[in-house]
């Protein structure tokens, strides 16, 4: 995988660079930013995250499981305590809730990992330590022949540094 990486110090220059890159259709664009700026979402126009679906489904699965454990346990070895019914669903709501939160919460996290491809075993090309501190990075995945165009475009928008990677 190869392409061109531009590092910007100013937010607006990066935004404009991206717009032009999109117009020029030079390839897929990935933006690196120290902190989430929704300007990028506006220009990149990505679809909303699907994480919420996992949260919902696994939450429901969790609450079901959370009710099922105590009921099964109680019936598995029926012992009367305090003259109460063997499977008393009312207090089991607590367990249901806790297990829902546990499974729902964890699966949300794992869904997030999955969608954003982490944990990532290798540092892919097209990343620079500066992007975690102060700089915005724009990575265009282009064929070598179009690379020069991309470089020129990024430079025009005032990228501090532009480099070609493979």
């Amino acid at each position: 995988m190869q392409g061109v990486l531009g590092a910007f110090h100013e937010l607006d220059s990066a935004i404009h660079a991206i717009e032009d890159l999109k117009k020029a259709k030079l390839g897929d664009i990935t933006v690196f930013t120290p902190t989430p700026r929704h300007e990028f979402d506006h220009v990149l126009e990505h679809a909303p995250s699907k994480v919420r679906i996992y949260t919902l489904v696994m939450g429901l699965a969790g609450v079901t499981f959370g009710y099922w454990i105590p009921v099964w346990i109680s019936d598995y070895w029926p012992l009367v305590v305090g003259g109460k019914a063997i499977a008393t669903w009312v207090p089991f709501t607590i367990l249901g809730f806790e297990v829902m939160v546990l499974i729902g919460g964890l699966s949300t996290v794992f869904a997030m990992f999955g969608f954003s491809h982490i944990p990532r075993l290798t540092m892919t090309v097209g990343y620079d330590p500066r992007f975690s501190s102060g700089h915005f990075g724009v990575w265009v995945e282009t064929a070598p022949e179009q690379a020069d165009a991309a470089i020129e475009l990024l430079k025009k928008h005032g990228a501090e540094e532009v480099r070609r990677e493979r």
């Binding site: 070895w77 012992l79 944990p119 075993l121 290798t122 540092m123």
Partner: protein, 229 residues
């Protein structure tokens, strides 16, 4: 970047470890099943039970009367073995020989010559215990024996064991599953290794035999206080 890949294995290992722990806990790996210690005297159950046809209750005489099965007093052994000494003549049990084990018995019982009673310095035989329930478990042998549970159901076919070993796990789950699912005389017979007698069609069956062949499962209470108090 191999270094990076290694650590992805860690969660997997953790999962495996947890699984293993649970499996061992579930399978009762902690119990002393199959433990078969060396006894001070290598008492041959097969000879006494199968060849000589002695009943379990002859020696373990309290099994049907008490919580404890009871253990033969040295005098019980000597009852026969003061005559049946170390010098064994040829018999259907084997050629003439000198039995080291009976000699040991004589040493414990302090007997020098055949026919002598227990000597003055007789001391009990320190048998090594094999089947042991924790003290907080109260197991009434009498109740089980009288309910027709054959000894072998729990102790295995001791009549075939040259050296007795712990047959069952004696785990709580093991006890309970029998109480819950029930026990039929037929299973008992099979466990004991007795052939169910063949009955020709139309031939009357002795009631005892019929009872022994019954497959009706009898269940038992399984609340904790049956055994734990």
């Amino acid at each position: 970047m191999t270094k990076r890949r290694k650590w992805t294995a860690i969660p997997g290992l953790v999962v495996l470890a947890v699984g293993a722990v649970m499996l061992s806990a579930y399978s009762g790996a902690s119990s002393s099943q199959n433990n078969s210690p060396v006894q001070p005297i290598a008492f041959p159950h097969p000879v006494h039970v199968q060849k000589l046809g002695m009943n379990c209750l002859y020696c373990h005489n309290a099994a049907n009367k008490s919580m404890d099965p009871g253990l033969p007093a040295v005098s019980t052994c000597v009852g026969c073995h003061s005559m049946v000494g170390p010098d064994r003549p040829a018999s259907d049990l084997g050629p003439a020989r000198k039995s080291a084990e009976i000699q040991k018995l004589w040493n414990y019982a302090d007997i020098k010559v055949p026919g002598a009673p227990l000597g003055p310095n007789a001391k009990p035989i320190p048998w090594v215990r094999i089947h042991k329930l924790p003290e907080y478990v109260h197991f009434p042998h009498t109740r089980h024996v009288n309910a027709g549970v054959t000894c072998q159901t729990c102790h295995g076919q001791v009549q075939k064991m040259d050296r007795v070993y712990q047959y069952a796990s004696l785990n709580m789950g093991w006890c309970v599953s029998c109480h819950v699912n029930g026990y039929s005389p037929k299973e008992g017979q099979e466990a004991a290794g007795y052939e169910p007698q063949q009955v020709a069609p139309g031939q009357a069956v002795a009631p005892a035999a019929a009872a022994a062949a019954s497959t009706e499962r009898k269940k038992a209470r399984y609340d904790c206080a049956n055994c734990h108090y």
